[in-house]
C-alpha cells in the first residue's frame, strides 16, 4: 500500500486542474466539468482519510463513525449529481435566451 500523502497529492493535482479549468475555459459546460473534477478530488480525499484513519472495532454492528468517510463520499455523489443537473439546465436556458454559453455574456443582472 502506498502512504496517505500520495493519495493526497493526487487529489490536490486533480483539484488544481479543476481550478484551472474553471478559471480558464470560456464555455459554461467546460466550467461545470472543472467543478466535477474538483468534487472528484474531494471524494478521493474523503475516502483516503477514512481508509487510513479509522480503526475498525471488532463488532458485528458497525459504529457510524467507522464508515463516515464512505458516507460523506456517497452524499457528495448526490450533491454532484444535483449540481450537474441544475447547472446544465441553467446553461441550456441561458443559451436559449442569449444564444451563448459563455458565462461572461450572461450579464442581465449586472448593475
Amino acid at each position: 500500500m502506498v502512504p496517505l500523502w500520495m493519495y493526497l497529492v493526487v487529489a490536490a493535482t486533480l483539484f488544481c486542474i479543476g481550478v484551472f479549468t474553471v478559471l480558464s475555459r470560456r464555455n459554461g459546460v467546460a466550467v461545470l466539468m472543472g467543478i466535477e473534477l474538483m468534487l472528484n478530488a474531494v471524494n478521493i480525499n474523503l475516502v483516503a482519510f477514512w481508509r487510513y484513519n479509522t480503526t475498525i472495532a471488532d463488532m458485528t454492528t458497525p459504529l457510524p463513525s467507522e464508515l463516515n468517510g464512505m458516507v460523506f463520499a456517497a452524499f457528495l455523489f448526490v450533491v454532484a449529481a444535483a449540481e450537474a443537473a441544475v447547472g446544465l439546465a441553467i446553461i441550456i436556458t441561458v443559451y436559449r435566451n442569449r444564444r451563448s454559453v459563455i458565462p461572461e455574456e450572461a450579464d442581465t443582472l449586472r448593475g
Partner: protein
C-alpha cells in the same frame, strides 16, 4: 514502501485520472473533453477500489460515467452547433499561475508537513474494512445517518424538479396552448 501490486495499480490509476483531467482542461473540442472526463472518472474509480471502497467505485462508474457524462454530452449537443464546437481560453496564463501556485501551496504547505513527514500514515489503520452491507446498515440506522440520507433524497427530488422547471421551454408551451 514496497513495490507490490497495489502500488503499481495506484500509479497506473493516478496516471489515468490526472491525464484525463489534463485532457479536460486543455482540449478545445468539448466532445473530446467529455471523453477525457470519462477517462479521468474511471481512474478515480480505480483509486476507490484500491482504497477498499468497491461500492463507491461502482457508484462512480454508474452515476458519474453513466449519468453525468451523458448529461454533459446532451448539454453540449443542445447548446452548440457543430460548426462552433471549439472554444477559446480565457485568461490562460493568470489562471495557470494561480492554480499552479495553489498546488504548490497545498503540497508544500499542507500535505507534506502534516501527513508526509510522519510514518503514522504509511499503512492503513486497519486491515479489516467495513463492507457495503455495513454501509447500508449505517445509512439507515437511527443513530447513524438516516436523517442526512432523507435530506439527500429530498435534495435529489428538488434538483430534479428544479432542472425540469428551469430547462422547460416556456415559449413553446405557450404556442401549444
Amino acid at each position: 514502501m514496497q513495490f507490490d501490486f497495489s502500488t503499481i495499480a495506484f500509479f497506473i490509476f493516478s496516471l489515468i485520472a490526472i491525464s484525463g483531467a489534463l485532457g479536460v482542461a486543455t482540449n478545445r473540442n468539448l466532445f473530446r473533453g467529455i471523453i477525457w472526463l470519462i477517462v479521468s472518472l474511471f481512474g478515480v474509480a480505480g483509486l476507490f477500489v484500491l482504497l477498499s471502497a468497491p461500492f463507491l467505485a461502482a457508484v462512480q462508474i454508474l452515476v458519474y460515467i453513466g449519468a453525468i457524462a451523458i448529461l454533459f454530452t446532451f448539454a453540449v449537443m443542445l447548446t452548440r452547433s457543430l460548426t462552433r464546437l471549439t472554444d477559446r481560453f480565457n485568461r490562460l496564463w493568470p489562471s495557470a499561475i494561480v492554480s499552479g501556485l495553489f498546488f504548490v501551496l497545498l503540497v508544500v504547505g499542507v500535505i507534506w508537513p502534516v501527513w508526509g513527514s510522519t510514518n503514522a500514515y504509511d499503512v492503513p489503520a486497519s486491515d479489516v474494512v467495513r463492507t457495503t452491507v455495513d454501509l447500508g446498515v449505517v445509512l439507515l440506522a437511527g443513530e447513524g445517518f438516516v436523517l442526512p440520507f432523507e435530506v439527500a433524497s429530498l435534495l435529489l427530488t428538488a434538483a430534479m424538479i428544479g432542472a425540469i422547471v428551469i430547462a422547460r421551454d416556456a415559449d413553446e408551451e405557450e404556442e401549444r396552448q
